[in-house]
Symmetry: C2
């Protein structure tokens, strides 16, 4: 997908919402276990109901890997379903991979070729050679961890402004405009500064909902009347809004609530 199309979708749908499918087989409604693949069924039903109200879908790979090859198959069925029926939704493999050249080439193959996600989250600890293999795919995007939403961000990212070094080095790469960055919605003190140093890149913001980030603060800090280049990811508080046959309706209510709170102008 072209980034201009993603930005248009955001403006047309009046939504920044990325649906986080952190699908935990122990938390999904019991009636879905009549299906051969209850995790895929859960995802499918949510996507069918919510696709017009969201602009992106993020699959957290850990939740699929925890179920081995079977979980990997649920992930593949979900991304295939998205690519076939809802190609207008931007897809994110939340994999946080990061390794040296010949290995990151394999990860690029796994997520950009075989699974055909639009983007993948990358952990930059090992340096820029972990990102390069992901840069040359047309209309595919690396999303680099900069300043994450968790408490542990204070351990290494904030001391010595490591997160800024990550951004600076990343932005010195060729075609750097295509790089997206993960910025925690919980990091309100930093959001305006981050948008200043990254005026034109997409930001993926996790941390509203279960983790407590403030939506209007995020939107005021990171967008303006022209620039709408953010994706706000919400996972648990949407997908587990209900826990019985009504879970899709409860999820849709939560999504409407979130979209309203964006107060889109």
């Amino acid at each position: 997908m072209k980034l201009s199309q993603l930005e248009n979708n955001i403006k047309n749908k009046k939504s920044f919402l990325c649906l986080g499918l952190d699908t935990d087989i122990d938390k999904i409604p019991k009636h879905l276990f009549d299906n051969s693949d209850p995790v895929f069924e859960f995802n499918k039903v949510l996507i069918d109901e919510l696709n017009k109200k969201i602009v992106a879908v993020k699959l957290n790979t850990a939740f699929y890997e925890s179920r081995g090859a079977e979980g990997w198959t649920s992930m593949k069925k979900t991304i295939n379903y998205l690519n076939k029926y809802y190609p207008e939704l931007f897809t994110i493999a939340d994999a946080k991979r990061g390794d040296i050249g010949n290995t990151s080439k394999m990860y690029a193959k796994a997520f950009f070729e075989n699974l055909n996600f639009d983007s993948i989250t990358l952990s930059p600890y090992m340096g820029m050679d972990t990102v390069l293999e992901f840069m040359d795919y047309d209309e595919k995007y690396p999303i680099i961890l900069a300043l994450t939403s968790n408490k542990g961000a204070e351990d290494f990212q904030i001391p010595n402004n490591l997160y800024e070094s990550v951004i600076t080095k990343s932005m010195s790469l060729k075609r750097a405009k295509k790089i997206m960055f993960v910025v925690g919605a919980t990091k309100s003190d930093f959001l305006k500064h981050l948008r200043n140093i990254l005026p034109d890149n997409f930001l993926l913001l996790p941390g509203v909902g279960a983790q407590g980030g403030n939506i209007s603060e995020v939107i005021n800090s990171c967008t303006n009347s022209e620039n709408k280049k953010i994706l706000i990811n919400v996972s648990r508080s949407i997908i587990y809004a209900g826990n019985d046959e009504n879970f899709v309706l409860e999820a849709a209510k939560k999504v409407d609530e979130l979209n309203n709170s964006f107060n889109f102008k």
Copy 2:
């Protein structure tokens, strides 16, 4: 496995060698394609031949993920085979995972419970809360990236001594003695210093072989007559030493050569 047992195995076998199974389906000998799972067959034949001459086996998850659910199955068959027939070999999932609490719990489940590896490599960019979920499994070990063997280590790990902050924070955790650290064998200027600040922890050293790290330098810097707590990983230069029916013999020759070069006292 207890770490004392691993250290005994090193002393008894007179080997620090960790066999890196970065098995690329495009690089394995053609005759193996008569088998239903040529990647597993390649791994199995190598393990059967080399098990007495090595102390550990490391599977690089990227190479398996690049083949989707099928690749995940090859990985599972390989680790099951190791656990069943060669429980004395220490096993490493080279996965470089790293995420917040509820997600890292899923990764721990994937690699410590379902796949039953002895250890997993972790990327510390997101901070210490990415490590905690891996600390409480008995006889299972987190291996934290400190100073890696690649060029990109200079981007973030070396400036401001980030690698030392990672070590210091890690060593402040409860039960920190069980943590292993990845230290590149290519980083000869740093090895003695690293062993000074980590006198008693196991170090996993990649980077000899294809990446050019010097073996005797590594051994002189990181071991002494009592402390043999290192694992030297070699992947490509062993497993692709040959590329026809003789690949196992070529691999064994390379392993003998490496074990001799350790000059074990």
